[in-house]
């Protein structure tokens, strides 16, 4: 039996090379692992080792030959020491290849139940705490970890009382070690636990972003669907007040960029509770962006029942005719204030609270813009490649013929957040800036 030795590819990009030197001669015995030859590529000279065993019967390409294509037979082995070498086969064609290239599936449109029962007034802080407590009572695999979440009761008091109710096993103070405990949560989730990871603020998640994206978001895909990662990463996001550049960062577009994540950013207490409960029950990694300024604000919300708000659904929080304004988190408050100001000037604004940033509820937004024909996007983060950029792309693709004016973005300005009070005010969106933008798309500026 003879076996052809083929010119090997020695790097991901090599197509041909030079046989620099043969280290075995015809008649030599060859054992697995013996160096047969030296091959020069455009990058390096490398040794080629034998895989099969036998006697070198013939050298087909003499040393010094250049431009030898990968997979050309370069020598022949004789002997029975080796199993039949695999034949180089062209990869089989994919079975039943679809005629059209695959498209990203549209996210299923979740259904939100109308609530008609009694209501209660509650702060966002209490709503978040209740959401965690209810889910921890419901599912023993859910636990909370983060800096100061247990004994200190939460740096922003979101986890107040949880240690007392659930104990140290399930409410865990971590060292200040974001990358470490984020990776630890991912591993725990691979084994079926459902961690809630609190970042004291999302600014510190940047320490852990490799674990969030490379480990939490991508592993399900890379494992062919085997390794789900049901972790909720939550904490305050964006600017608080006068905490300057490193502590005022909005991560909405950063995380919304990544397939494998869901990204949620509620405004009201009811949505904070309902969406956090949905996030904890979701089998996927969910980024849950809160806002420090909202924690103490009160909202009327459902008082009874298992209040769940589905991920992936925006909400029209004020109906209007002349212009659509989208916002999320604290910016919804400013958008609503702007709508009041606009109403006084005879402009009827429709305000949409996006609530979920990935998967985006394009249907609700596009339908609104088709009605109003004008669009303003509001976000606190930077403009470049931001959420507004994405929304305007959606408008170009799905509502182009319906637009009566170029869409406008109101964003945080393209600078690291300054500390000085006056400069910080200049940087952040405000109700007045949103109202001005809405007037400009209505040609009323």
């Amino acid at each position: 039996m003879t076996i052809d030795i083929l010119m090997p590819a020695l790097s991901p990009t090599m197509t041909e090379g030079k046989i620099a030197r043969w280290l075995k001669s015809v008649g030599d015995d060859v054992k697995s692992g013996d160096v047969l030859a030296e091959i020069e590529t455009d990058k390096a000279t490398m040794e080629v080792e034998a895989v099969d065993e036998g006697r070198l019967d013939k050298i087909l390409v003499p040393e010094g030959t250049e431009g030898v294509k990968v997979n050309t037979p370069i020598a022949r082995l004789a002997g029975d020491g080796a199993a039949a070498r695999p034949e180089a086969k062209a990869p089989p064609k994919p079975v039943a290849a679809p005629s059209a290239p695959p498209r990203a599936p549209a996210a299923a449109r979740p259904v939100e139940k109308e609530y008609a029962g009694p209501t209660v007034t509650m702060t966002v802080r209490e709503a978040l705490r209740d959401a965690m407590a209810e889910e921890m009572r419901r599912d023993p695999q859910v636990f909370l970890m983060g800096e100061e979440v247990a004994q200190y009761q939460g740096a922003y008091k979101i986890s107040q009382g949880l240690l007392q109710e659930f104990g140290e096993r399930r409410v865990i103070d971590t060292p200040i070690t974001e990358q470490g405990f984020t990776g630890l949560a991912v591993g725990a989730a691979f084994l079926g636990l459902k961690p809630i990871v609190e970042f004291m603020t999302f600014n510190f998640s940047m320490q852990a972003i490799d674990q969030i994206i490379n480990s939490a978001a991508k592993t399900l895909y890379m494992s062919g669907g085997q390794m789900g990662c049901p972790v909720v990463f939550r904490g305050p996001n964006g600017a608080a007040a006068r905490v300057a550049a490193q502590h005022s960062h909005c991560f909405a577009s950063w995380y919304a960029h990544c397939p494998g994540l869901k990204v949620v950013s509620p405004y009201s207490a009811g949505d904070a509770k309902g969406l956090l409960k949905a996030a904890i029950r979701d089998p996927n990694p969910v980024i849950f962006l809160e806002n420090e300024v909202l924690y103490g604000q009160s909202f009327e919300m459902p008082a009874e029942g298992d209040h769940i708000v589905p991920i992936g659904k925006a909400q029209i929080v004020r109906t209007g005719e002349h212009v659509t304004i989208t916002a999320f988190s604290l910016m919804v408050k400013y958008a609503l204030e702007a709508a009041e100001m606009l109403a006084a000037e005879g402009i009827s604004a429709e305000v949409i609270d996006l609530r979920t940033l990935r998967p985006l509820d394009t249907e609700t937004i596009v339908a609104s813009v088709k009605k109003t024909n004008r669009f303003v996007s509001v976000e606190e983060g930077w403009p470049y490649a931001g959420i507004g950029s994405e929304l305007i792309s959606v408008m170009m693709e799905q509502a182009f013929d319906h637009l009566d004016a170029p869409p406008v973005r109101v964003t945080g300005l393209d600078v690291p957040m300054p500390y000085a009070a006056n400069l910080e005010r200049l940087t952040l969106p405000s109700a007045a800036k949103i109202a001005d933008a809405a007037k400009s798309v209505c040609y009323r500026a």
């Binding site: 020695l10 039949a84 695999p86 180089a88 290849a97 679809p98 630890l184 725990a188």
Partner: protein, 334 residues
Amino acid sequence: MPKTKKGERGGEVKSAPAGELLKYYRDMLLIRRFEERAGQLYGMGLIGGFCHLYIGQEAVVVGMQATITPDDAVITSYRDHGHMLACGMDPRGVMAELTGRIGGYSKGKGGSMHMFSRQKNFFGGHGIVGAQVPIGTGLAFAHRYNGHRRVSLTYLGDGAVNQGQVYESFNMAALWKLPAIYIIENNRYGMGTSVERAAAGPALAERGSSYGIPGEQVDGMDVLAVKEAGGRAVAHAKAGNGPTILEVMTYRFRGHSMSDPAKYRPKEEVDKMRTERDPINQVRDLLVAQGTTEDDLKKIDREIRDIVADAADFAQTSPEPPESTLYTDILVGA
């Protein structure tokens, strides 16, 4: 206080019963032949991208695997083919993942560096140096949370040991007494940089000493020494005493990846390790000394060759993933 055993030889074990040795011989030979075939398929252009072979390091995973049960968890970095075979994953599924086919463990979506088996408690296969260490610590955390008397084996290289997140993990594992065993596979080179040029301080086994984690240096070319040290670490963890660091002194006979010209280490060093310290030959010698015949060994060699040839054949005939799978497995339930 942490105790570090100096020197290359891990313990006093000289031999073991023939049945046990035969298993190690077989398991190590499967990895060796599998990797040789993977190298060949790479050379033929059937495996793409990065491909890191485990040849020379077989005694590490085979020795450690002998200390755990199927319920324990295993995680490693991207030089992972040997770990998967040692965990009992099907060579067909591993090889078909290398060739990017639907029959691979990740349906062709992961490749050499990203493979998993939930069924075999193998948690990857991670391409980012050091990232598997907190995750492996989380596996240990989950065992503890669930009240299971199980351990997590987290393998890392001598290069990864300089990553910050490794120490974040050591800290939490020691703080919470997690049943985590960190196996530093010291093959002397992080890609092309020798340990001496990358790592300050004494033995890597002592890298956990400031956390009170016991460390031990083990001869990684001796499967029995690995098994003995691994057994101590597993017993320590299962008794609730927390993590252990094993610095396993090993050597890769091949380059860092397939495209490694290996100019950073002298050829004589490689040759010397291959001829004097080959982990498979060491076990083979023990078996022969105990009376195992050449014929018996040849029979095993042939069985292994058949398994590997079958895996290679499967990996070439399994179809590429259908295009309809492009958007599946991004989210659960979507």
